[in-house]
Amino acid sequence: MFQSLGKYILLLRLSFRKPEKFSVYWSEVMREMVSVGVGSLGIIAVISVFIGAVATIQTAFQLVSDFIPKTIVGGITRDSTILEFSPTISALVLAGRVGSSMASQIGTMRVTEQIDALEIMGVNAPGYLISPKIIAGVSMIPLLVIVSVILGLSGGYLACAASKEVSTADYVTGLTDGFNPLIVTVCAVKAIFFGFIITSICSYQGFYTDGGSLEVGQSATRGVVWSCIMILFVDLIISRLLL
């Protein structure tokens, strides 16, 4: 366990060594940003709309009563979407979509000697392969989470429009009532940390793949499992510290 942690930290240190040529690394960063950001937009959009709608319907089911203002449904949906659903559920989904892809890509490069080829050329392989992925994850996953928040709240609006429990006017009023900007800060901090966790853990698992195609699959699975565990753990820590 401690040996793995040490290897992980050393790999991160190697990943952020001075690049051989900035322009080559920059184009890799751009490529990874497109892969992480644009490539994940579809799945994030779909899950966000559904999660927002479900959160609204379930909150309404539990709270609608003559003694509680109906606008509270909007407020609760807003807070739960911004604080938890959008950053955490999106991160768990992205760990599966982006993380497994990164781990298997790097793992395949390892078992097919492509990483050895990079090293023999004099290229800092961790830097060339991992740092663009981490930069892309840390920058694009927060953007995806912002999209997720907007679509999640829109999903709640659609759920209100489709049902008779809460009017859309009450829902929109609830969204704006008692808004505390701190929750947006917490959401952004979570998204940045989750982006780092997914990309660095999955890259680490891929980089130290040893064996053949079976081990590449195992590395991808380990990367996703560890990312999910760490996402939930860091979610708890950030919530405890910032709220």
Binding site: E20, K21, V24, T108, M109, T112, E113, Q114, D116, A117, E119, I120, M121, G122, V123, N124
Partner: protein, 250 residues
């Protein structure tokens, strides 16, 4: 010139290399041969720095490669070209991008100059016009040739080749051997080839190192190999009836 001095390599309890020393000269095809598990690939990896020897030195033109850190090794590594057993081409890049990759990172050439060099390397390995193909669209022999083109793109002083004939038909194997031989002679490269292909040994083996049980068991040329009385080497080289028949005719 590459000099290896008393190289030992241990993995856990398993001592794979046991004090191997040799000198590999420029313009020569230096072949490392031996049975499976004899340590030849481990020795190659120790020489190129993919493994750090447990003991011993690897010296490139008087510079001790073993003592250097990553940054210090970069200038020597840019003079090294390597062809891997499975070619190790970058899947996400085209043939042209594979060849231009080291040029992009380590030279200040313009795009036109890099393209010109890539085309020259492709011409050198008889793959003109294959620039835009991806590795998945190439045959095994073509991948090897692209691997050689990428290895020579930086005009290396040292060329390392790991099992160049594995998975190839006999005719393509001979073509690859001839190509390695031509490049070695033409550019006076110090070439080190790990192989267990007897056609390569007899065809291009200017200097042969036979490893057995992790030790240097025999050293000589392809002309000397037929007349050696070294039992282990004879058992290895003349294992097949075809080779025994060929030896009897000599």
């Amino acid at each position: 010139m590459i000099e290896i001095k008393d190289i030992y390599k241990t993995f856990g309890e398993n001592e794979v290399l046991k004090g191997i020393s040799a000198i590999f000269k420029p313009g020569k095809n230096n072949l490392i041969i031996g049975g499976s598990g004899s340590g030849k690939t481990t020795l190659l990896k120790c020489i190129v720095g993919l493994h750090d020897p447990t003991k011993g030195d690897v010296i490139f033109n008087g510079e001790n490669f073993t003592d250097m850190d990553f940054e210090q090794r970069v200038p020597i590594r840019t003079q090294i070209g390597m062809l891997f057993q499975n070619s190790a081409l970058f899947d996400s890049m085209t043939v042209e991008e594979n060849i231009m990759f080291p040029l992009n990172l380590f030279t200040t050439q313009s795009k036109a100059e890099k393209l010109e060099r890539a085309n020259f390397c492709l011409e050198r390995v008889n793959l003109v016009g294959k620039n835009k193909l991806y590795p998945s669209e190439l045959s095994g022999g073509m991948k090897k040739r692209v691997g050689i083109a990428r290895a020579i793109s930086m005009q290396p002083k040292y060329l390392f080749v790991d099992e160049p004939n594995s998975g190839l038909d006999p005719k393509t194997s001979i073509l690859i051997d001839e190509l390695i031989n031509e490049l070695t002679e033409e550019y006076q490269i110090t070439t080190v080839v790990v192989t267990h292909d007897m056609n390569s040994v007899m065809g291009i083996g200017d200097h042969i190192l036979f490893l057995h049980q992790g030790k240097k068991w025999w050293e000589g040329s392809n002309k000397e190999i037929a007349h050696t009385d070294n039992k282990e080497l004879n058992d290895f080289v003349f294992a097949s009836k075809f080779m025994q028949a060929a030896k009897a005719k000599l």
